[in-house]
């Protein structure tokens, strides 16, 4: 049966929801729902997996929803080039199933084929080892168009048990170290060399991405984190003929002097610092380390400061969307959560800071892991709301787009933001 006929003949729950939002592409609604519910790979789908052709799980800083470390597809691509960054999920949690139809991988919902998907292609350098004998994919991992550097797989907020309530970075650090021999802290020179090897593949990568756990130490708090990022970015920069290169870093909310140092001394072109949740009370509860070292209002202020350094449309903050509704301390309704979140996002947007979200994947081994994430309608409304703020405040989001990240339904919508330069 041809794809066109197949699509016409079946109506899924997804289509019912999609009918309520005719202005939002069905593919983006599907992506959001897959991120919300996770995926389960059928045996036939795993048989299609070829490690010489496809990326497999295991390289990421965060763990899988089913808590396992096994060879599975890293993530999926939809027909419009949209990435679905999702994790394997136990079947009893009602995930989408990836199975095979006519020889190709498809997403299935309750037995109904929904969309064909591609596994992320493996870059050429994945087959190689670094100078220290570590598989290069454990030094620098990849997305379809992005190179990921996770240089430090620990977060010092955990030193006094004040890590974020949704985060499993430390658990994953132990698994990565014990099962995959992934170094906890990377050598900047080795990182630069692996980036150089990756860039030999023409037409693959559009951006360099860097993130790690927070490092509180230094003359000023977080100076060591800034210095480490500078060392890394300088080594990465040795591969380029221009001082600046397309890049994004998710870091702690640094002071303005630290931001200037980071911008001036490296090729970094954008800056992201995640508030995680746009409500001070919930931020204090779920991000106690961030509260202790910086605080909600100061975090926001530093984001606004970063606009002066990196430029309008080059600074944003990320949300783990759904935690604001989780458990007894969350908002009592999705309407209230949406109102509060968009109101805070607008306060940032009017000052030049964009807000993006990821769909929260409740992970085992985290304090919030036992709760469920929000409804599909909620995520669609949130994506629409954040996209509309970018239109209202003329905020580009190229540095965190479907190409440069791929993890945000709201920035997928912003693929067709107005082109304000055409008005010049």
């Amino acid at each position: 049966m041809s794809y066109a006929l197949l699509k016409r003949s079946l109506i899924t729950d997804l289509d019912t929801v999609a009918a309520r939002y005719p202005d939002v592409p069905r593919l983006i609604i599907l992506k959001t729902d897959v991120q919300r519910r996770g995926v389960f790979y059928a045996d036939a789908a795993l048989e299609l997996l070829d490690e010489t052709l496809h990326q497999t799980t295991g390289t990421h800083i965060f763990g899988a929803r089913d808590g396992k470390t096994a060879v599975r597809p890293e993530s999926l691509l939809l027909r419009d080039g949209t990435s679905i960054i999702t994790t394997p999920t136990p079947q009893e949690d009602d995930p989408y199933v990836v199975d095979v139809l006519d020889g190709d991988a498809w997403l299935f919902d309750n037995g109904t084929p929904v969309e064909p998907v591609d596994y992320w292609p493996a870059p050429a350098y994945y087959a190689k080892k670094s100078r220290s004998g570590v598989p290069m994919k454990h030094i620098v991992s990849a997305r379809p168009q992005r190179l990921n550097i996770f240089p430090y797989r620990y977060c010092t907020f955990w030193n006094n048990a004040k890590g974020c309530a949704f985060c499993d970075i430390v658990v994953q650090l132990k698994k990565g170290r014990d099962l995959l021999n992934i170094p906890a802290k990377l050598d900047p020179v080795e990182v630069g060399e692996v980036i150089g090897e990756a860039l030999k593949e023409q037409g693959r990568f559009s951006t360099i991405f860097l993130t790690s756990g927070s490092i509180t130490s230094g003359e000023r708090p977080f100076d060591d984190e800034v210095d480490y990022f500078i060392a890394l970015l300088k080594e990465v920069g040795k591969n380029f003929r221009t001082h600046k290169y397309p890049s994004q870093m998710i870091g702690t909310a640094f002071e303005k002097e630290q931001l200037k140092r980071l911008y001036d001394k490296t090729g970094l072109t954008s800056y992201t610092s995640d508030l995680e949740v746009l409500d001070e009370g919930l931020f204090n509860r779920y991000c106690p380390g961030k509260r202790e070292w910086i605080g909600y209002k100061e975090w926001k202020r530093r984001l606004v400061d970063a606009v002066d350094v990196f430029g309008y449309g080059r600074v944003n903050t990320g949300l783990v969307a759904g935690i604001e509704l989780a458990g007894p301390h969350g908002f009592q309704s999705e309407d209230l959560a949406l109102e509060r979140t968009l109101s805070e996002a607008e306060d940032l947007a009017r000052q030049g800071v964009s807000t993006v979200f990821i769909v929260w994947s409740p992970r085992p081994d985290t304090p919030l892991g036992k709760y469920k994430n929000a409804s599909l309608d909620y995520y669609i409304r949130l994506a629409r709301g954040l996209h509309q703020l970018r239109i209202k405040y003329r905020l580009p989001i190229d540095h965190d787009s479907y190409r440069n990240c791929g993890n945000h339904p709201d920035t997928d919508l912003s693929r067709i933001l107005p082109l304000w330069e055409s008005e010049l």
């Binding site: 593919l27 419009d80 292609p121 023409q202 037409g203 067709i416």
Partner: protein
Amino acid sequence: MTGELLQRVGGLLAEAGTIATIATIDEHGAPQSVPTPFLQLDEAGRLVHLELLETSSTHRNLLGSIWFDRPVSVTLSGRNDEVLVISGRVYKALVSGLRFSRFYRKVRSQLGDADLAAVWLIEPLKIHDETYQVRKAQEETFHPFYFHLDRLVIHRDSI
């Protein structure tokens, strides 16, 4: 759509001198037509359009097409006045992987320092032969009321 017409599409695309244009519509329904110099037919019978710029109107319109099921069309004009118009639906955008990289290298080998935003695959749904002589013959056969009568007049001075 017949296999014979699809073969003619492939034949036209193989000929040097064929001009290909792609027509898309924006969110307001306004049409836009631009040349598509790298157009080709793939082994699955889909048209392959290479889009060089992420922010081009055509790229954004093609995205709108795959998102909201808007039609697109491609026109091929051959050196011998043969014209084929293919209407279709956008099937897929390749943004990464071996096939994408092959096209990326092809673009750069021809244009120098150029980029490639996406490889768009378009599924042909209908092919119309819009070659003037073919359409003229059809119209005269099936719509004989649309002649200007002076074309039928007996020119006495030529008798």
